[in-house]
C-alpha cells in the first residue's frame, strides 16, 4: 500500500519498521532524549524505542520544550528515520527546522490522515523524499 503525503518539513527519505502510536505523546518528559525510549509510564507504547523507526504520531501534547527533545534526538542519532503526523505540530517540528539550520541531517516529516495509520502497523515503511508513504508487502 502507498499514499502520497504532504511534506511538512523536508528531510532525508527514510525506511524502517513502523511504530504507530495509539495515543498522543509529550516529547518532553515522554521520550528519553538520549535513547529515544518512550519513558512516559502512562503511554500505551511505553518502553518502545522511536530511534530508527518510521514514527506515526496521532497527536502531540504538553511542553513547549518538545522541540528541544526532538533536536537532541537528532543530534544523538536517536531520532526516528521519518515522522508521519496527522496534523502539523509547530512546536515539535521546530526541532527539525532548527536542526536543519545547524546543518545536521534530519528525517523527513510528512502529513497523513490518522485513519490510514493502522494499515502500516508493524510493516517496513518507506517515506520518500517526495512525501510518498509506502509499505513493503
Amino acid at each position: 500500500m502507498s499514499a502520497a503525503a504532504e511534506i511538512l518539513v523536508p528531510g532525508k527519505a527514510g525506511e524502517g519498521t513502523a511504530l504507530v502510536l495509539t495515543a498522543p505523546i509529550s516529547f518532553w518528559g515522554g521520550v528519553d532524549p538520549k535513547t529515544g525510549r518512550i519513558a512516559d509510564v502512562r503511554h500505551p507504547q511505553h518502553g518502545e524505542v522511536i530511534a530508527g523507526r518510521v514514527l506515526f504520531l496521532p497527536g502531540t501534547i504538553g511542553s513547549s520544550s518538545a522541540s528541544a527533545v526532538l533536536m537532541e534526538l537528532v543530534h544523538n542519532g536517536r531520532a526516528p528515520v521519518a515522522l508521519v503526523m496527522h496534523e502539523p505540530d509547530a512546536i515539535l517540528l521546530l526541532g527539525l527546522i532548527v536542526a536543519r539550520e545547524m546543518g545536521w541531517e534530519t528525517p523527513i516529516a510528512a502529513r497523513l490522515e490518522r485513519g490510514a495509520f493502522d494499515t502500516y502497523r508493524g510493516a517496513v515503511v518507506t517515506v520518500a523524499a517526495d512525501g510518498a508513504v509506502s509499505a513493503a508487502v
Binding site: 518532553w28 518538545a66 543530534h75 517540528l93 521546530l94
Partner: protein, 417 residues
Amino acid sequence: MSLSLSPEEQAIAAGQDGAGMAMRIVAESARLLGAPRLIPIASTHIDGALYHGDSGTLFAERLVESGAKVAVRSTLNVGALDLMGCSRIRLEEPQRGMARRMMEAYRKLGCEQSWTCAPYQAGHRPALGSDVAWGESNAVVFCNSVLGARTNRYGDFLDIACAIIGRAPDYGLHRPDNRRARLIFDVSGLSPSFLGSEIAWPVLGSLYGREVGNAIGVVTGVASHPGEDALKAFGAAAASSGAIGLFHIAGVTPEAPDVETILAGPEPEAVIRVTPQMVAKARAGLSTTAAGKAIDAVAIGSPHLSHAEFDRLERLIAGRRLAVPVYACTGRHALALLEQDGRRKRLEASGVVIVADTCVVVTPIMPELSNGVLMTNSGKFAHYAPGNTGYAVLYASLADCVESAVLGKPVFTDIAA
C-alpha cells in the same frame, strides 16, 4: 492562506548570518502555523536557556558566532544553575559545563540576566494590547491575562529567533477575536472565607486548567481583586493542569471589565458552576500521597517568590528553627531586596535554602530520596515535582507548610470550600 514575507524580511531570510537563521526559523514556523504574515513585537521572555542537552547549547553558540543580537527587550527564564551561589546544584560534568555555556551564550546574545519565571515581577511588564513573544507557561498566561499584552506560547528556539528579528507569526492570541471568552467558570457558589484563603487560587487554577483545557474562559463570582500573587498562582496552576494561555476574571483582569464585554457571543458555550465538592476533589488531587508521620522538605516559589511572599514567609517562621529545609525559589530581583535588609541571612539561619536563578523541579537540588515527601503550596510544584524529583507531594497552605517544616511532620488546618 499562505505566508507572505515583506521584501525586507525576504532579504534578511536570504542572509548567511544569525539574523538570516532566525528569520528562516520564524518563517518556517509561521508557515506551519498557517500565519499569513509576521508582526512586530515589543519584547520577549526566553525559556530556551534551560539545558536539555548539548544541541541547545550548540544552537545558542552558533547564533553568537554568527553575530546575532536580540532586537527587542528580552528577559531570561530560569537556567539549570544557581549563578548567585545561594544553593548547591547537583548537576555533574560535563552537563554542568554545557549548561553554563548555554546561559553564557544567551547573555552574549543581549538578553537580560533576569533568570526568573516571574519576569512580570522583575520589572518586565509590557503594555496592555502590545504584541510580545513570551515563553514559559506561567509567564505567558500572566502576560496575556493580568497585563493584557498579547502572546502565544513560544517554545524553545522560536523565542530567541523572534527576539533576534523582532517579529513573530501573526496567529492565535495576537488576534483580538481569539482572545474572547467562550465559557464561564462561576465560583459564586464557594464561601467567601474560602475565596479569601491563600489556597483558593492555586486550587481553583488547577481545577480551571483541567475543566477548561485549551479554551478561553472568564471567571465570575469574584467580589474583589485577590492580589497579584494570587493571580500568579492561579495562572501557573491552570497552565500546569491544562493548556491555558489566557484567562479572564470579570471585574479584575483588564480585558474583562464585566462578563458581557469579554464573551465571544451573546451566550457562553458552556457554564461551569464550581461546587465545594469540585474544589475539595481538586485540592486532594494536588497531593500524591496520604499524610504520614514525616516530611523531608518544603518547596515554595513556583512561580518565583515575590518580595511580598518573602514577607509572609518570614512572619510565619517568626524566628523559629526549621526541622526540615524550606527551599524558597526566587529571582535576583527579590534576592537583591532580601540582601539589602539582612533578611537573607536571617532566613538562612532558620533553615531556609534560598534558590536563585533556577528552581527545584528543573535541575537537581534536593537530595535524591527513594521515598521522599515534599510539601508545597504551589499548584505547579505539586504537578511537576513527582515526575521530575521523585518526591511524593503533599499540598498545603504556606502557613501549614511552615508549621510542618518547624515540626518535621505534616500539619493541616481545615479550610472548607
